[in-house]
Each structure stands twice: as structure tokens, then as C-alpha cells.
């Protein structure tokens, strides 16, 4: 068995018939994972939809509390990081290792920027008592169940933030491994899969931004 694989590249695992099949299998698995991610966030989107339908005026009043400038800046930061992530995959496809690392570092820095802006937003809200559920003490929003808006806000942006953090860890690991020479134009599955994950994180934010900051 192992003899027939001696002329296979080092990244080939013995249970795949060729590199293409290995790559496609990884991608299929990744897409199945992303599918569960969409449904994970889906539950929270339904939560949002129900309470918004029940208390449209409260949602409208509460959304004014959020800082549109910070939200829009974060949207642009995250979209730019998605572009640099996509470009890092393109670079590795062209076997430009240094360029790949450069794009990955940029992506990581942009993700960090996103988290810093998010931190300032959270800190401001925590300070004012605009907290979820039981911890809500803010009195500046009129309507019924104002705390539910902030429950939705913290749950959805928080879960998204956790995803950004996980993405940052993955990208950091990719930078390390790319430097170590793990990837080439022949094998870059890890970068491609992290890219898919990162784009999904961006995609979810594309919906969170208008739902909370713009039309609340």
C-alpha cells in the first residue's frame, strides 16, 4: 500500500486517491461546517425577528443608542480584511510566499482593528448599563422590553466577535506555518479553508450591521 505512494507529494494522505480528491473532500467538509454555522446564527436571527416584530418601536428607539460611525467603520474594516484574505489565497496560488504572508498579516491587523473598535463599543455600553436581560439598567430608551434589544445585540455581535477571535487565531497560525514553508501553490488547503471561514464571518456581519445599527 505505502509503496504506491512513495512518489506522492508529502501533503498527500494515504486514504485519498489524488491531491484533487483530498482538496475537494476538505472543501466539502468545510462547507458542511459553514452550513451549521449559518444555522447557528440562524437561531439568533429568528430571535431578533420575533422581538422586532413584537416591539418595532422599541427596536427603533433602542437602535439609536448604537454608534453608526463605529459600526460602518467596522463593516469597512471587515470587508477590507475579507479582500486581503482572498488576496492571500490568490498569492499562494501563484506561489508568492512573501506576498501571502504580507496579506495574512494585513488581514490579522484588520481583524484586530475590528476587535478594538468592538471593545470600545462594548465598554461604552457596559458603562451606561445598556446590558442584556437582567443586567440592563439604562433608562434612556422608551418602550417595552428594551433589554431584549441589547440581549440580541450582545448575543449576536458577541458570537460574531468570538468567531472573529477564532479566525484571528487561525490566521496567526497560518502566518507561522506559511513562514515555516508548509504551503505552496500545490498545497494550500488550510489557507483556503480559513479564507472560507473568514468570508462567512464577514458575510454574517454584513447582515448584523444594518439590522442593529441602521434600521433597528
Amino acid at each position: 500500500m505505502s509503496q504506491s505512494h512513495t512518489n506522492q507529494p508529502a501533503f498527500m494522505q494515504h486514504h485519498f486517491s489524488d491531491a484533487e480528491q483530498q482538496r475537494e473532500s476538505a472543501k466539502l467538509g468545510m462547507w458542511l461546517f459553514l452550513l451549521t454555522e449559518i444555522l447557528l446564527f440562524g437561531g439568533l436571527f429568528v430571535f431578533y425577528a420575533i422581538y422586532r416584530a413584537w416591539h418595532p418601536e422599541m427596536f427603533h428607539n433602542a437602535h439609536k443608542v448604537l454608534d453608526v460611525t463605529m459600526g460602518a467603520t467596522n463593516t469597512i474594516v471587515l470587508i477590507t480584511s475579507s479582500i486581503t484574505m482572498a488576496l492571500s489565497i490568490r498569492s499562494i496560488q501563484l506561489n508568492k510566499i512573501k506576498q501571502t504572508i504580507w496579506f495574512l498579516v494585513t488581514t490579522l491587523l484588520l481583524a484586530g482593528t475590528f476587535m478594538v473598535i468592538k471593545y470600545f463599543e462594548y465598554e461604552h455600553k457596559i458603562h451606561l448599563g445598556q446590558l442584556p436581560g437582567h443586567y440592563y439598567t439604562y433608562t434612556g430608551v422608551e418602550g417595552t422590553n428594551q433589554h431584549v434589544f441589547f440581549s440580541a445585540y450582545f448575543l449576536m455581535t458577541g458570537l460574531h466577535g468570538i468567531h472573529v477571535f477564532v479566525g484571528m487565531c487561525l490566521i496567526g497560525w497560518l502566518i507561522f506555518k506559511t513562514k515555516a514553508g508548509m504551503f505552496s501553490s500545490q498545497y494550500y488547503t488550510h489557507i483556503e479553508m480559513t479564507g472560507l471561514y473568514w468570508h462567512l464571518v464577514d458575510l454574517i456581519w454584513i447582515f448584523l450591521f444594518p439590522l442593529f445599527y441602521l434600521i433597528g
Binding site: L28, L35, H55, V68, T75, Q93, E142, N145
Partner: protein, 146 residues
């Protein structure tokens, strides 16, 4: 197996596609922020979601390569969207139309601190709201004649 190197060659998109799609995404972000400064009433949500969907499609098709990859991945992605759609639509049918069958009201959730520690609510409206929990609550379905 012999054309292994052939099939393993990655499908590289031109730089212009990434930069073009990226520019459109940033442009649409500006559009959606600008559109939110106007009040289109009922259409606010529709417009914002339409722009977001266009942006999400661009990300999925170009950045996530769904346009160029095996269509099985596109099918998987769309199946997630379809099931999410079923989840949202059927739940909304239930929550919005149940009032047609019997009277149901969306009351205040007492769990929040503002509702049980009234002394920390100097705002008159908030106080009024928290006091009128059991008597005067917002109805889910205001118009049942539709």
C-alpha cells in the same frame, strides 16, 4: 492520475475581480448607510436587507469562489439559506398571525433590573412602562381584521 499536475493547478482569478468586488462591497456599505438616513417606512427593512443580500452574494460568489467551484458547494450553501428561510418564515407566520385565532399579547419581561428595582428608574416613561406591565401591554397583532 497521469494528469495529476494538470488538475492540481489552482484556478487563479485576476486581481481586478478581487479589487472590483471589494470596491463594490465598500460602495454598497456607503449606500446602505446613506439609505438609512431616509425614512421609507415599511421599506426600510426591505431596502437594507436587499443591499445586504447583494453584498453577501458577492462575497459568496467571488471571495468564496462559489461561482467557479464545484456546484455542490453552492447547493450546500443555498440549502442552508433555504432552511434558514423556512425557520424564519414559519416562525413569523406563527408569531404574527396567532392573534387571529385567540387574543395574545406581548408583555414585558420582568427579568430586567429596571422592572424590579423601580427606584433606579428616574425616567418617568420608563417608570410608567414598568408599572403597567400587567395591565397595559403592547399587542402583538394590532389589526386582526386584515
Amino acid at each position: 492520475m497521469t494528469d495529476n499536475t494538470q488538475t492540481n493547478e489552482p484556478h487563479v482569478l485576476p486581481l481586478s475581480i478581487y479589487l472590483g468586488v471589494g470596491s463594490i462591497l465598500i460602495f454598497l456599505t456607503a449606500v446602505t448607510v446613506y439609505a438609512a438616513s431616509f425614512n421609507f417606512g415599511e421599506f426600510n427593512l426591505l431596502i437594507a436587507m436587499l443591499i445586504a443580500t447583494v453584498k453577501a452574494s458577492l462575497v459568496a460568489m467571488y471571495f468564496m469562489h462559489l461561482k467557479y467551484d464545484n456546484k455542490l458547494y453552492l447547493l450546500l450553501f443555498l440549502s442552508a439559506i433555504v432552511f434558514l428561510g423556512i425557520f424564519i418564515v414559519i416562525t413569523m407566520f406563527d408569531t404574527l398571525r396567532r392573534g387571529d385565532i385567540y387574543e395574545i399579547k406581548a408583555g414585558a419581561i420582568r427579568d430586567a433590573v429596571i422592572y424590579d428595582s423601580l427606584h433606579i428608574t428616574p425616567d418617568a416613561h420608563a417608570l410608567e412602562d414598568s408599572l403597567s406591565i400587567s395591565t397595559d401591554t403592547t399587542e402583538i397583532v394590532i389589526d386582526t381584521t386584515k
